[in-house]
């Protein structure tokens, strides 16, 4: 195993590593724009230069493409390196508009950070900047500002190496090079397209859904798990910081998802998520059910729970459909409290939507529910069949056709969203959603990932875990 010296410190390295990889593994920071741990080496930004010390002088070259060799001595912050990084940043900002004030990337922009770390002085150019396209619609989801683009080619390499859509390329030469779709509409069909927004080291590629929605420093992120399929990618759900709560504008904005980004996780999704995961607001911010009902008549929550408890207590052959969107904790609570009384089946809450990609070899999986594996581990994988004598069905979660329930059976329905079935149940109990509680999901490979609460639930809504305990108690307790 070769040993190299970075800034005088001995650093162990693997045989086929580059200096960049060895330095990162040892916790030494080398700046980079175009390099990315999951992409091929392009070596075009030239900011990762380091100095190699050698007899009779040394040389400066890029760390991302420099193989380690035993005994090599690297300086990451020598005078030559600093001078070259400064010159490189002068080039990069030469035609960059430096419009950080109106740029969504400001606050999390690598160019901003490096400018202050390695350059710090204004442009020495007095000539007009090269103008290029603003708001180029790269796809239905993504807009491109070619003036901000530093042509690092990360997005192009992503579509070639990761999503394999080959949807992006660079056309033109020199300082008139432009990132463009290789064919019209091709990038729209790439279900991973929005990863290029995170990959972009500057504010060139922007998500249309997040455009001008918030300055990133007003936001905070909560670790969560995407419920879009059984892969269970870990994500960060971004929402307004408490201390920057909006008072005069629509207060619902304080409790809404600003955007979703990947939470890097080598065990499950690496640094990527698919576009469905970016659209969790479309799932979680549907109209919510927050009113308990008995046969469609609004009642308070405690009354509804009491009625449901009595229905369950009086049933002779009850059956239950548990949700594959329930957390491991909720599923375990059901089994512990009510499981013995019920013939239990696992329900697929979500089916693939028309046109949705079913499966590929990147991330997307065919089962569009996050915790099917966790539920099946507790309740088996038997198909839903009702006994003729079934006199009560507890339905937990959406997506089940009530027409399949025997006519004489009573229905206890737990749902979070405003749906017509809610009013058909004998007892309807509104429950909380994933962003309002914490818990764990088990993905199809058996990997367990945690999610945390981003927002507080309404008092008129109950957590399923607490509800099951209440339903199982003979006398009943207030929720």
């Amino acid at each position: 195993m070769p040993e190299i010296f970075i800034n005088g410190q001995s650093v162990p390295a693997e045989k086929n590593q580059t200096v960049m990889q060895a330095a990162r593994a040892a916790g030494v920071f080398i700046p980079y724009f175009c390099w990315h741990p999951s992409l091929s080496v392009a070596g075009n930004c030239r900011i990762c230069v380091v100095e190699v010390e050698a007899e009779g002088g040394g040389w400066v070259d890029i760390a991302c493409n420099m193989p380690v060799s035993n005994g090599m001595r690297i300086r990451t912050d020598s005078e030559k390196v600093r001078a070259q990084r400064k010159a490189t940043l002068q080039f990069i900002t030469l035609n960059h508009p430096v419009d950080c004030g109106i740029c969504d990337k400001a606050g999390e922009c690598t160019l901003q950070d490096y400018h202050f770390a390695y350059n710090g002085s204004p442009s020495t150019s007095r000539d007009a900047k090269v103008r290029a396209t603003k708001f180029f619609p790269l796809s239905e989801r993504i807009t491109l500002d070619n003036e901000r683009c530093i042509l690092c080619s990360r997005c192009v390499r992503f579509t070639r190496e990761i999503s394999k859509s080959n949807a992006l390329g660079i056309k033109g030469r020199g300082d008139e090079s432009l990132v463009r779709p290789t064919e019209d509409g091709l990038f729209d069909q790439d279900p991973y397209s929005e990863n290029v927004v995170d990959l972009c080291p500057v504010g060139a590629l922007l998500s249309k859904s997040f455009l001008y929605k918030a300055r990133v420093w007003y936001l905070t992120s909560t670790p969560s798990v995407c419920p879009g399929c059984e892969r269970g990618c870990t994500v960060k759900i971004w929402h307004r910081k408490h201390e920057w709560k909006l008072k005069s504008l629509d207060p619902r904005q304080n409790e809404s998802i600003a955007r979703v980004t990947p939470l890097e996780n080598p065990a499950v999704n690496g640094p990527w998520i698919c576009n469905k995961g970016r659209d969790l607001a479309k799932i979680f911010e549907r109209a919510r059910a927050d009113q308990a009902m008995l046969k469609g008549k609004p009642v308070d929550l405690a009354t509804a729970i009491d009625s449901a408890r009595k229905l369950i207590a009086n049933a002779t052959r009850p059956a239950a459909l548990v949700s594959s969107w329930g957390s491991n904790e909720e599923l375990a609570a059901f089994k512990r409290t009510l499981g013995g009384r019920f013939a239990t089946f696992v329900k697929q809450d979500w089916q693939p939507e028309p046109g949705e990609r079913l499966e590929d070899d990147v991330l997307i999986r065919p089962d569009k529910n996050p915790n099917g594996a966790g539920a099946r581990a507790l309740f088996g994988a038997a198909a839903v069949v009702f006994d003729d004598a079934t006199d009560l069905v507890l339905v937990w979660g959406e997506g089940f056709d009530f027409g399949r329930i025997p006519a004489r059976a009573k229905i206890v329905f737990l749902n979070a969203y405003l749906q017509p079935e809610n009013g058909h149940a004998d007892a309807f109990l509104p429950i909380s959603i994933q962003t309002e509680r914490s818990g764990h999901y088990t993905n199809f490979e058996g990997t367990v990932s945690a999610f945390e609460a981003c927002f507080r639930k309404k008092p008129s809504v109950v957590d399923a875990e607490a509800l099951f305990a209440a339903l199982a108690t003979p006398q009943g307790v207030a929720a």
Partner: protein, 432 residues
């Protein structure tokens, strides 16, 4: 006469480029000699012993490049002839392609034999029309005569050649961009390491030689390395094809023996400076080499070592003669417009630096120069020196610094007076 000749050894006629004429001159005898009497290692040894240096601009010893390729390693090897002659001022490979295409093909066959190459390529500049047609016809003739294909000259040796036309990019003349272009990709140069002789075309060991370099191989095999070394100087063996243009009475392609006196070449062989003017300076080997003043030129001999000692290079042999009265500011403007137009846009210093240099020089020429512009051009050139993926950033920097160092007064004059020290155009005639 410009010394002994190795390549331009026959009178150019209407048929001198054909296979029949080439064979009448003894063509394809070297191939027979190599295939029947030499092992691949012998050929490489002979080329190494000859001291043949690359004629494309970098002067890298051909034998040393070849010996990096491991024979019998079970991998396919590739050979590419670089006929993407794009360095401004250079048009010497064109002469070989037009008048001696079989010399190139025979030499490529010998090189393919030495390097165990099954598939060889010629990457020819897209703008070349007659050279392409002549070369394509020569390939047809050579196939028909059995010099390409299976069982060449009755031996086990098999080789095919593909002529690939470029699409008009200066950078594609850079070896790694050239093979990337052959692979059908955008002609971007590649980062080294790996060297192309380790992982080149289709990720296999690949040797890329200039057309003129390769064309010397047949002669080296026929007459031996010793005979080749007898020509030229001890450090720079052989001859150089020089394409001379600019303010010179007889422009054209000349074969010059290395070490030939430069002044004699200019004033006698090429007929002196145009219209009886005085020599101002010469760009010796394509615009990427540093300009040499009249005093330097007249003292030097035409070989790489002498030019290197003077801080320049014989480069690609594209010699541009510049007469007194020419405005160097306008000259640099033309050069920088070229570099800006040809920068591939891959890596930062060249992509943005070339445009920056071009905008500055345009502004100076428009009479809006600022005193700090000269320093800025030095800075941009320095920031391109050794920092780019290929050599283009360096080359543009050398060209700029070369002119700024020697003719700074003209730039200062232009900036101060908002007009040229001379009439302001390249063809201005100083003599009264």
């Amino acid at each position: 006469m410009t010394g002994r000749k190795l390549l331009m050894t026959f009178p150019v006629t209407a048929t001198s480029h054909t296979l029949a004429d080439y064979r009448a001159r003894g063509g394809y005898a070297a191939l027979a000699k190599a295939l029947h009497h030499m092992s691949p290692e012998d050929v490489t040894k002979e080329v190494t012993a000859s001291g043949l240096q690359g004629r494309g601009g970098a002067n890298f010893p051909a034998g040393r490049k070849w010996s990096v390729v491991h024979l019998n390693d079970g991998q396919p090897h590739y050979l590419c002839a670089n006929a993407d002659e794009g360095e401004p001022g250079t048009f010497k490979d064109r002469w070989i392609l037009e008048h001696a295409p079989h010399l190139l093909l025979e030499s490529m066959l010998i090189a393919s034999y030495a390097l165990q190459v099954r598939n060889a390529f010629v990457y020819i500049r897209g703008e070349f029309d007659l050279p392409y047609r002549r070369l394509a016809a020569a390939v047809e003739e050579a196939y028909a005569a059995g010099y390409f294909g299976e069982r060449i000259l009755g031996t086990e040796f098999a080789c095919d050649v593909v002529v690939y036309r470029g699409a008009g990019s200066y950078v594609c003349g850079e070896a790694s961009a050239l093979i990337t272009s052959i692979e059908g990709k955008r002609g971007y140069p590649r980062n080294r390491p790996p060297r192309l002789t380790v992982r080149g075309l289709y990720q296999q060991p690949t040797v890329i030689n200039n057309v003129e370099t390769l064309s010397n191989i047949a002669g080296i095999i026929t007459h031996g390395a010793e005979a080749f070394k007898q020509v030229g100087t001890p450090k720079n063996a052989g001859t150089r094809l020089i394409s001379i243009s600019g303010h010179i009475n007889r422009p054209g392609v000349y074969e010059v023996e290395c070490g030939y006196p430069w002044a004699k070449f200019l004033y006698e062989d090429c007929g002196g400076i145009l219209n009886g003017r005085t020599l101002k300076c010469v760009i010796p080997g394509g615009i990427s080499t540093k300009v040499l003043t009249r005093d330097e030129v007249e003292k030097l001999t035409l070989d790489q070592k002498a030019l290197e000692a003077a801080g320049s290079s014989l480069g690609s042999g594209g010699m541009i003669v510049i007469a007194e009265g020419t405005c160097m500011v306008r000259l640099l403007q033309v050069m920088l417009r070229f570099y800006h137009h040809e920068s591939c846009g891959q890596c930062t210093p060249c992509r943005d630096g070339m445009g920056w240099l071009h905008r500055i020089i345009d502004r100076i020429v428009a009479g809006e120069g600022r005193p700090e512009d000269i320093e800025r051009m030095y800075e941009i050139s320095a920031a391109n020196d050794g920092t780019t993926i290929c050599g283009m950033g360096d080359a543009a920097g050398y060209a700029t610094v070369g002119i700024l160092n020697k003719y700074r007064d003209e730039f200062e004059h232009y900036i101060e007076h908002k007009r040229s020290k001379f009439a302001g155009n390249l063809e201005a005639i100083a003599h009264a």
